[in-house]
Subunit: 693 residues, 2 copies
């Protein structure tokens, strides 16, 4: 038996043995994402590119969970971990069958290029929907949970390999991502951009890290000495992969190198092991030109083969080989997709109309371009659900009376029919509003206009948003419907912050809620379940009052650095009940607080812990340091417990040095942020306690 097949040896030993059996040319070929077979050694071809952000993606049917930003709104590590488990379990089951049928192509493998743990720095970013929001701690916790779910806890093998992306500073604008230099100061790097990557590498042992398209402080993110130094420091033990085509940008857009050979050399020497793209086709040229050594190639090849070995690809058998196809999109998984959609929707406003008393309404009007849209359920980087329940369908199924519906307007164009005049669906919407006792306006965006450059919305804004408003077509629709004087509930399917600018009766922010989003919405509307999602990003009033989109300084951004221009704060979200916290206790880093459901409705709620450090280096406002989702029957009391992480007691100076500097800390606990607007909107106050180190 070849040594590389000896399952008693370490992955490193086996990888080295395997790689040393390959010629340098063969090694180089393995460093491109669609790696060829090595027939003589019985190594099959392998395409490294797979996706699984909120469900096994882009290769047919799979359970479709809410988009990542929606899962963040659950504030629930256990649920996010379970989602990751299901994604990877379904990917394994699908991979087993695909491989059996000889299909080892893109999206069929075991290396999943998720999660996206970039900080959702600016609400205009179209890919912000892929992230866990704006807070480094929340992102770290949920990112770790998802990676743990994807990679599994088997001692022998990874269930799938996860990928922390896009290292380390990447959040738009999409239109310029291939040529842009993101300038992050030393403080923000350490304070905001790096923590989640560190957490995933150190704590979750994420198997791969992907570099970004843009430059970071002048260096290409996929060949950055500064960033690679961080990975070494953290003990990164997996492989590093470029974003797709990111290396091509070095010589064609960034002007960092003069040729593909130079880019290949620069990247592999810096530590980029795997090339998603075709630049590493030039590795042998670079070798011949003495830009790199054979050892550079060998080392990268060991790194990537080690991952394949950890995935069990060279083993006789792994326990995951027996995962049956029947678990793909099985009832249990789809039930969780529904449950997570319910938990992720955020009730932003409610004058008491919700939950609806169905007996009060004979006719409900469901209006808007997202009312019957499957795309509005999906979010980007998705698979194919075996059943979609749109908002309209969910409401139709839940309500026994008449449901009238109207598209109202195009999602963003001024007309639906090309041959018609502008606003060609407005009269229908007005009619439906007039003839209904209640209007549910289903608005927002969809992943075809909010998303990624090249994938989405090039005619709109390359996937980004131009501001925080609804598209003009929808603003007109809202104003015309509001004129009718009927009760109006706005449901916004958007992957980011938006200001619906309407004096309506209730607003539900639904995100892109996955395959059962319409059922989840109806369950919330009609009170089958209380909403309990919390904002993982700040909702601002107005984009004009934000720092420039291109400005990567955190000053004036996110709840930790601004109290200005806030529409709805980070951590905010209403339920159908009332909860009250009491008895905040601190013992070392362990914290407990009691929470009581003082209302009449069973509900989930999220206890949030924030810490404010009195040192001059600390962020100006209290930072999240713990969160616990609890379910409370009406009248029930539970104790929420967390352990404040050590990092919460540190602060970062202007040189990027993180240290414990504070003497006195204030710890807050409640179901919202400790700030006047949050407390006013939720009607609950945070408890606080001083901790002296």
């Amino acid at each position: 038996m070849e040594k590389f097949r000896d399952e008693k040896l370490t992955a490193q030993e086996r990888a080295e043995d395997l790689v040393d059996r390959l010629t340098t040319e063969e090694q180089a070929a393995q460093l491109i994402y669609d790696a060829p077979a090595v027939e003589r050694l019985g190594i099959p071809a392998y395409n490294w590119w797979n996706e699984g952000l909120h469900g096994a993606a882009r290769a047919g049917v799979a359970t479709m969970f809410p988009q990542a930003i929606a899962m963040a709104a659950m504030f629930d590590q256990n649920a996010v971990k379970r989602a990751g488990e299901i994604v990877s379990t379904e990917q394994r089951a699908k991979h087993n069958e695909f491989a059996k049928h000889g299909d080892r192509d893109i999206y069929k493998g075991l290396s999943i290029w998720s999660p996206n743990i970039n900080i959702f720095r600016d609400p205009r970013w179209g890919r912000g929907q892929e992230t866990y929001g704006e807070d480094p701690f929340l992102t770290s916790e949920l990112g770790k949970a998802f990676v743990n779910g994807l990679q599994g806890d088997d001692k022998e093998h990874l269930r799938t390999s996860a990928c922390a992306k896009h290292f380390a500073v990447h959040s738009g604008p999409e239109a310029v991502r291939h040529s842009f230099d993101a300038k992050a100061n030393a403080h923000d790097m350490e304070d905001t951009y790096l923590p989640a990557f560190r957490a995933l590498v150190q704590d979750a042992k994420v198997e791969s890290v992907m570099g970004a398209y843009n430059r970071v402080n002048g260096e290409g993110a996929c060949a950055s000495s500064v960033l690679q130094e961080k990975l070494k420091e953290w003990g990164f033990d997996g492989h590093f992969v470029s974003d797709f085509g990111a290396l091509e940008d070095f010589h064609t857009n960034h002007g960092l190198t003069a040729s593909a050979e130079e880019t290949a050399a620069s990247a592999i020497k810096s530590g980029c092991d795997l090339n998603a793209g075709r630049v590493y086709d030039k590795l042998i040229d670079a070798l011949n030109a003495r830009l790199i050594s054979k050892e550079d190639i060998r080392k990268a090849c060991v790194n990537v083969m080690r991952t394949r070995i950890r995935l069990g690809m060279l083993d006789q058998h792994t326990k995951y080989d027996d995962l049956p196809y029947s678990i793909v999109a099985c009832r249990e998984h789809k039930d969780l997709a529904l449950e997570y959609a319910r938990k992720s929707m955020v009730l932003l406003k409610n004058n008491g109309i919700l939950p609806l008393d169905a007996s009060k309404y004979q006719t409900i009007g469901v209006i808007g371009p997202n009312a019957n849209s499957r795309a509005a359920l999906e979010g980007n980087y998705c698979g194919t659900a075996d059943r979609y329940i749109t908002f309209l369908e969910g409401i139709q199924d839940a309500f026994d009376g008449r449901v009238l519906c109207a598209e109202g307007c195009h999602l963003y164009k001024d007309r639906v029919s090309n041959l018609a005049r502008a606003n060609d669906r407005l009269a229908e919407a007005e009619t439906v509003a007039e003839q209904s006792d209640l209007v549910i306006l289903c608005l927002g965006l969809d992943p075809y206009i909010e998303g990624e450059e090249g994938d989405a919305g090039n005619e709109f804004a390359s996937g980004d948003k131009i501001d925080l408003r609804l598209p003009e077509s929808q603003r007109l629709l809202v104003s015309k419907v509001m004129e009718k004087g009927k009760p109006v509930i706005i449901v916004a399917a958007v992957g980011s912050a938006i200001n619906v600018e309407a004096d309506c009766d209730a607003v539900i922010h639904a995100w892109y809620p996955g395959q059962s989003g319409g059922k989840a919405l109806a369950d919330i509307l009609f009170g089958q379940v209380s909403p309990s999602g919390k904002l993982p990003v700040t909702f601002y009033e107005d984009a004009d009052r934000l720092p420039a989109f291109e400005d990567y300084s955190m000053a004036g951004r996110t709840y930790r650095y601004t109290r200005d221009n806030i529409l709805y704060p980070f951590g905010y979200g209403l339920t159908y009940s009332k909860t009250a916290c009491s008895d905040l206790e601190v013992s070392g880093r362990k914290v407990t607080v009691k929470i009581t459901n003082t209302g009449k409705t069973d509900t989930d709620d999220v206890v949030q812990f924030y810490l404010k450090d009195d040192s001059a280096c600390a962020a100006p406002y209290p930072s999240l340091c713990g969160f616990v989702r609890v379910h409370l029957a009406a009248g029930e009391t539970k104790t929420a417990e967390t352990e404040i992480p050590e990092i919460a007691f540190t602060s970062v100076d202007e040189n990027g040095v993180r240290a414990v500097r504070g003497k006195n800390y204030t710890l807050y606990a409640g179901t919202c942020q400790p700030d006047p607007l949050s407390e006013q909107l939720t009607g609950t106050a945070c408890l606080s306690k001083t901790i002296t180190l």
Copy 2:
């Protein structure tokens, strides 16, 4: 009161009065499809372009019936008439509201440019789906029924105006329609192309006739002296409208005229009253150039204004003004959309597997690009349903066991994901087939590739089909699934004949079955209802053995002229029961026959009457002369009665002269055509009787 507002006068008198109050310039402006308001007379703007082929179209929500070709497959005048009633009733109700809200734009008016009564001469034609098939008699009967439904039976007002299109010879190819000369010989003109138009004008009093894009025997179809002469001969009393942009083709593509002025002059002088397009903007120039007279303009304007008056647009009130919006897509209408979908699907093949015994199957695999496609329900010229039930959804709702599903392939491209290799969804489909006890393959086309030049399928074949096969991607899918050896049922959503070329257990031709198509399919699959649709077109084996697509001779085309190359004959369709006809009786033109359900399943069936004339001029094979849809409980006997129309006893000579020439006629009655293949496939024989005039 102005005379034109005097409701006691005739429409002609009122129209003349109105037109004589307009300047010639104002009259000319009314002859463009988007006619401006005449403020001083209180005449609102009016856009003539509206559609309603199988539901109020292109202006939001409406009940969506099966596509026209599917409704033809019902062989049921009453159902087609009822569909027309519902289309026009919903259009009226929508129009009432649109007008109230000041929206008088395209698709909002009362002039519906349906039905399409062109003969579906060649199965490759993408717009054949809009027609009632290949038979002049069936087309006439269903066309009249639909017009009667659209126009209503009110003595005072038309509910909506219908439009017989595209006068008179028009059936592809779509790619060359703007420059093509359709050459129809005198026999075929009278025998095949004209009868339905004559029937709609003379018998159904259709209010408008639309010309075709192409030339007909050298003349532009919208300004053809030959064709206009026919309308005069038939006593046409409505207005004539050009197809959209058809007049532009005269000088830009057909080379019939040298300029827009000349086209305008030629068209209006020939009898084209209304211009869908912008050529009539040049009418005043043509007048100034003395190409036309003021009277030419006046006459056309009277014709179009007469229609508006008949629609009640200048009246104080019509009974249709009170039609409430609540009837749009109401339960009753949607129930009929479901019923018609059930009646229109054609069971082409069944080895006994259908209806399914659900208890025999634990897992059903639903595979194919049309499995979960809303587009495959729609057909072209459609509105928006307020609820779609796809084939997959229908099966999921009906079957309690596990339903696995897979897209299998792109509808016609070789891959679903651009970044993947070819056949990227095949492994999933194979897996689903392997893991299922039964496979339902949902295949076919959709209106994005089968349809109209400009609307559909330009990258495929400008909306036409290139042959009668499934797209290559689907053929591969079929062969791979068949290899698994599981029971396979093929469901084909196609608007025309197709040869699925698979030795499967059953084939259901579903057409584009409208909003509830998936429910209808499931009802048929699981035996809630027996299928009963019959083919309104011949299904050929092979396109290579057809006459050239551009050849408008009927020789070798349709069941009346060929017995060669037949896969499934015109009139064919299986049920879940057995029926037998007996006691054929003829008395003058009145015919009766008994039909008995000799099986154990309640079912609809269609008694078909065919006549063969012994004269040399007659079509070589018996022609349909009557049809009666009956519902029969198991064991039940009913008498079907029809009256053979006089035209059935005529034949057409090579000079196009229609006359009674036969001495002996053979009348056939049965649930299929009187031909050996039909009788073999259905297992029933036709009765026959000789009639001597």
